[in-house]
């Protein structure tokens, strides 16, 4: 179902390029949620470039960004795939643009409107059910934030996905351990260890380093496939730029000129 192999070096180069593009956009308008986009960069890259078949508008597979605030990374990947245009991204959050801070259904490559948390996984369940009902083999991929696991609606969907035996769902938790007010593990210590919760609710699970592209690919390609899969990915909010890492302010801020220059320098050394 997925590609047979995965070029980790190429993934690293792509992810560096995506992060740079997001920083570039942040210099024209105040791009929100850079930290949350950087934490799931490798995950979204792997979904589009390694896991989905024919990534783009003709893919039989679907990607739904449940953590809608992370959509900057989705936009830049869709731009490279030719689904969104450079003009689309250049007009991000401008009066003439069609791309906003949260993804909107109806735009090319955007499968659902998200932004309010805790909606995505139920829609994923419905999509997976429709694929099965229509006798199609489309996989439904999604990325949730760890903050979303505080929404009761997420757990309603968790129960339904395994009860309905929806083996065509692959979900990731971007477990960067941050929400607006602080660490998610401090808001709800009882939610951790997180992976065991999905295990207990009948999902196949894997726990990985969410910045290790090869591990992401491996977790999905080695799955048994008899249950929906939840990959709990340990990530770093703001990954790739030292002063953004684990600093909640980058949920909201865009870098100034000096900060931008430093971020670009740091990314270049990682290439």
């Amino acid at each position: 179902m997925t590609q047979a192999s995965f070029d980790a070096r190429a993934a690293r180069t792509r992810c560096q390029r995506y992060r740079r593009r997001i920083l570039d956009i942040s210099q024209r308008v105040s791009a929100l949620h850079i930290g949350g986009a950087f934490s799931c960069t490798e995950i979204v890259d792997a979904i589009y470039n390694a896991l989905m078949r024919k990534p783009g508008l003709s893919s039989p597979d679907t990607f739904l960004m449940s953590k809608g605030h992370g959509c900057m990374i989705q936009y830049v990947v869709l731009e490279e795939l030719g689904v969104l245009s450079r003009a689309d991204l250049d007009a991000y959050c401008t009066p003439h643009g069609r791309l906003g801070v949260h993804p909107d259904y109806g735009n090319p490559g955007i499968e659902a409107s998200t932004g309010s948390l805790g909606h995505g996984l139920s829609m994923v369940v419905g999509m997976a059910l429709a694929e099965r009902g229509k006798r199609r083999d489309g996989m439904i991929y999604t990325v949730l934030s760890d903050g979303e696991t505080q929404e009761g609606s997420t757990w309603e969907a968790v129960l339904m996905a395994s009860s309905l035996k929806l083996t065509n769902i692959v979900a990731f938790i971007d477990n960067n351990d941050f929400q607006s007010l602080g660490r998610t593990s401090e808001t709800h210590p009882s939610l951790y260890p997180l992976t065991a919760k999905f295990d207990a609710f009948g999902w196949e699970t894997a726990e990985i380093d969410g910045h290790d592209s090869a591990a992401i690919f491996r977790a999905v390609s080695l799955r048994k496939g008899d249950r929906p899969l939840m990959v709990v990915a340990r990530t770093t909010k703001g990954k790739g730029v030292s002063y953004m890492e684990n600093a909640p302010i980058w949920h909201y801020r865009a870098p100034n000129k000096d900060e931008y220059a430093q971020a670009i320098r740091e990314l270049e050394t990682q290439a």
């Binding site: 659902a112 909606h119 139920s122 999509m127 059910l129 429709a130 229509k134 609606s153 969907a157």
Partner: protein, 303 residues
């Protein structure tokens, strides 16, 4: 009405493999047995989990299906309200949210089960269409329309059980149009939903007094037939609105707005539920009467 709904949906599901129903722990009395046994893959019971009921219906629609989400009205509309707004209305998906037993039909179950504000709430949502059939025959028409339309989300308000047939000889049902169940020239009663049976009783009594009475089912609350309402205001000396809904945002307040806009000169009386939670536990008629909705009181006021 719920049995009629179930049978009609079953027929639509037989004709169209994209018709799904997502229910939230609706009891067997909801008569979904035939659907669930014959089309188990298209019958989804989420259990006591209305938020996912709507989200799953949205996901099905995003993949080209024609889903219905079905449970008791308070739980189908109020509990998952944000999912209805964001997943269904914002994305403009052809999902029908069925509110069963709306109004004060669940009279002995208390205020948690009374659906007094649903028309206002559903109508306030962009893209949402709102239907409320008055009898089992209108329920068939409305359900069929919902199963075949691709315009966007619908809130379908239906009754429960035992509603009499009122429209056997009425003009054809048409989405978005007032439907005259009888035509007169003096008094026009505008109503919709289960309480139409009470309106029939009132119309009969007025006719017995020698009045020429129109009786109108305003089954489509959104988009409301503004031209039709305008005509009713202009063609009758007295217009009476009767509805099982709060005074804000339902048919009564909309008719008043239209009357102002078109400088209507007829007399206009409106009878609605009160803006109150009423802690009575009698029959539906008892509850309605406690809200001020009884044939006697209405006749006394409009007489």
């Amino acid at each position: 009405m719920r049995n009629t709904f179930s049978e009609t949906l079953y027929a639509e599901a037989t004709a169209n493999p994209d018709v799904y129903i997502v229910v939230a722990d609706i009891s067997p009395a909801g008569s979904m047995g035939k659907f669930s046994s014959e089309y188990p893959e298209r019958f989804v019971n989420v259990g006591v989990a209305e938020q996912s009921m709507i989200g799953i219906a949205a996901g099905l629609a995003l993949k080209g299906c024609q889903p219905f989400a079905y449970t008791i009205a308070t739980f189908s509309l109020y509990r998952p309200f944000e999912m209805i707004r964001d997943d269904l209305c914002y994305q403009n998906l052809p999902v029908t949210v069925v509110g069963m037993g709306a109004g004060v039909i669940y009279s002995t179950l208390g205020g948690t089960h009374h659906t007094q504000e649903d028309i206002a709430i559903a109508s306030a949502l962009p893209n949402m269409q709102v239907l409320a059939p008055c009898d089992p025959l209108e329920c068939i028409e409305a359900t069929r329309w919902c199963a075949q339309q691709k315009n966007g989300p619908v809130y379908l308000r239906i009754g429960k059980a035992g509603e009499p047939v009122l429209t056997a000889n009425a003009e054809p049902w048409q989405f978005g149009k007032l439907r005259y169940l009888r035509r007169g020239s003096d008094v026009c009663i505008l109503t919709y939903g289960v309480i139409t049976a009470m309106a029939v009783e009132i119309a009969d009594k007025l006719a017995a007094q020698g009045r020429s009475v129109s009786l109108v089912s305003a089954h489509t609350l959104k988009p409301l037939d503004r031209d039709g309402v305008t005509a009713s205001l202009q063609q009758h000396r007295h217009v009476v609105v009767i509805e099982e809904h709060a005074p804000q945002g339902g048919l009564a307040s909309q008719v008043k707005q239209i009357a102002w806009d078109v400088r209507a000169t007829c007399r206009l009386d409106t009878f609605t539920l009160q803006d109150a939670f009423i802690h009575n536990y009698g029959s539906t008629s008892d509850l309605l009467a406690a809200h001020g909705l009884s044939p006697e009181r209405i006749l006394a006021k409009i007489g």
